[in-house]
Symmetry: C2
Subunit: 321 residues, 2 copies
């Protein structure tokens, strides 16, 4: 849950006055986005989301994210579209923080995705990858294979306090991934955080993608691997190959996978599992005592990692080539 | 900030299906209401607020609150209007909790009310009091003069840890208020919590009143006293008599004060100040160590109480009779 920055009446009115969005009717802080403060606005024209960027987002990255959203929206992808101010800027300042106004996207995320949701997700992700092909911005993936070991080293000896033997297990996996990580896969803009809460549906139809604040340039198939981890495991830890097949078939119906991408899926899934294992481990060890926010369980991703380690080849994910 | 109850997709769809509100388009937890979980819903018809009542609200009181809102809305007062389910009920159940759907009220609360806001507030409060006259429900004010001493006793010896001598000061004030509290003032439905965050404006016009979960039957002028405390002190602790005059004149333009109400204002203001001093003191002493929520400062209301103790008669509040 976000920590909300206080915005005074004068600051808000002055900020909104910079945009051609009509008369402000309401302004509510919403409980979404752990990283930023988000407010839902109604005006006499439409609904909007106002985001104040808090500490965890690097302000230098904001033009990449906002220009990307504008680029994708122009291509026809359903995503929050930044509203330019009267002087044409996508990024403003409110209450001393970088701030942006984007269109409000109707839809709700699905807490228990079904097979058909996975298929829709696959299609939308492939459209995102195609639409991003000619985006001119570039942002390195700060959490790619080169970023995992430094993160692990920050967790240090306390790693084993979470689970006995975890440090050695991560260390072996890092050795393997660093030695075998595929370098030459097709690259482009990836979302890098397409968890169910960032994908909106209206009924059975996907209505849009949100929260592009991990977007970056990396292997397209790595985005698929993140989603196989996030969408295709059941609550009991079992892997649902029907969901994985639906996701991959949906994706391939829009953008067919190249052979090397397909064959790399098992190692990409291992890498994606380790990436979320490491960030969750780091957050777990960093949460102050007595905090009300419960960090997400790192061991969920240890189980996912172990599953992918048993996978012989990409056919295990359900898609025949 | 509210603790949000998790609502599953199935529960939500089943709940919304009971109401004639159209197709659900979005559903966001909002950061309003410390006592309950509130969600802002868009449907293809309108916007609504869905409230899940958490532990601090007594479920037996909910029919009083919801029927009151319906009564006031029918009289023409601008307030959230409960939406009846298809079988005519205002109160339902969602995620194991009592739940209600109300219309969404456009408007924003004013963080720094000006004189004209106080005048509008006075008028709206008087309208609320007149509209409530023929409401058939009855709810005792749990925090009236008879409820203050038990609350103080729960704070006990730790009171002086907040401020040296505070216990003795409260004790003397309680003796005075219990001996002199006016018994025969005109009574009716009062809001009892009309702080600025419960009063919405659109521009300079008051657009509605919200959050009736302290509403009860008590002296009408006590509601005025609560507002004199909540709206007419500046951040530096000074009393702004121009604001008080505007509030009282606005009120009297809709419902003239009777002589005994007018003359009782100083003691009612002392009582209202003590009531919020005590609840804030209790919350201050009850907050667990390490909690992220900062309780409101009880001493703000000690200063307000001391101001009213110096008031000789009601003319000090700016309204001549």
């Amino acid at each position: 849950m976000a920590v909300y920055t206080e915005v005074t009446d004068e600051e808000l009115n002055s900020f909104i006055g910079n945009y051609d969005v009509g008369r402000l009717l309401s302004f509510k802080g919403i409980a979404e986005g752990v990283e930023n403060s988000n407010f839902l606005l109604h005006t006499d024209k439409a609904s909007y989301i106002l985001t104040l960027y808090e500490k965890r987002v690097n302000p230098d990255d904001l033009p990449y994210f906002l220009n990307l959203l504008q680029h994708l929206a122009r291509k026809g992808l359903s995503c929050p579209t930044p509203v330019p101010s009267r002087d044409g800027k996508l990024l403003g300042t409110l209450a001393g923080r970088p701030a942006a106004l984007v269109t409000f996207l109707e839809g709700m995320w699905v807490k228990r995705p079904r097979v058909d949701h996975c298929s829709e997700l696959g299609k939308a992700m492939a459209e995102l990858h195609l639409d991003g092909m000619d985006y001119e911005g570039y942002r390195k993936n700060a959490l790619d294979v080169t970023g995992w070991r430094p993160l692990f080293e920050q967790c240090g000896a306390r790693t084993d306090s979470v689970h006995a033997g975890l440090g050695a297990e991560i260390s072996r996996e890092l050795d393997y991934l660093e030695a075998n990580w595929p370098a030459d896969l097709p690259k482009g803009v990836i979302h890098a955080d397409l968890f169910p809460d960032n994908v909106f549906f209206l009924g059975d139809e996907l209505s849009g993608l949100i929260d592009f604040y991990f977007a970056c340039n990396d292997a397209l198939a790595y985005d698929i691997a993140i989603c196989l981890n996030a969408w295709c495991f059941e609550h009991d830890g079992s892997f649902n190959v029907t969901k994985a097949r639906a996701l991959l078939k949906g994706y391939a119906s829009v953008r067919p996978l190249e052979t090397d991408e397909y064959e790399a899926l098992p190692i990409l899934c291992r890498g994606a599992a380790l990436r979320f294992l490491l960030t969750r481990l780091y957050d777990w060890l960093s949460v102050p005592q007595g905090a009300l926010v419960t960090p997400k369980d790192p061991l969920e991703y240890l189980k996912k990692l172990r599953f992918h380690q048993t996978v012989g080849n990409a056919q295990a994910y359900g898609l025949e080539r």
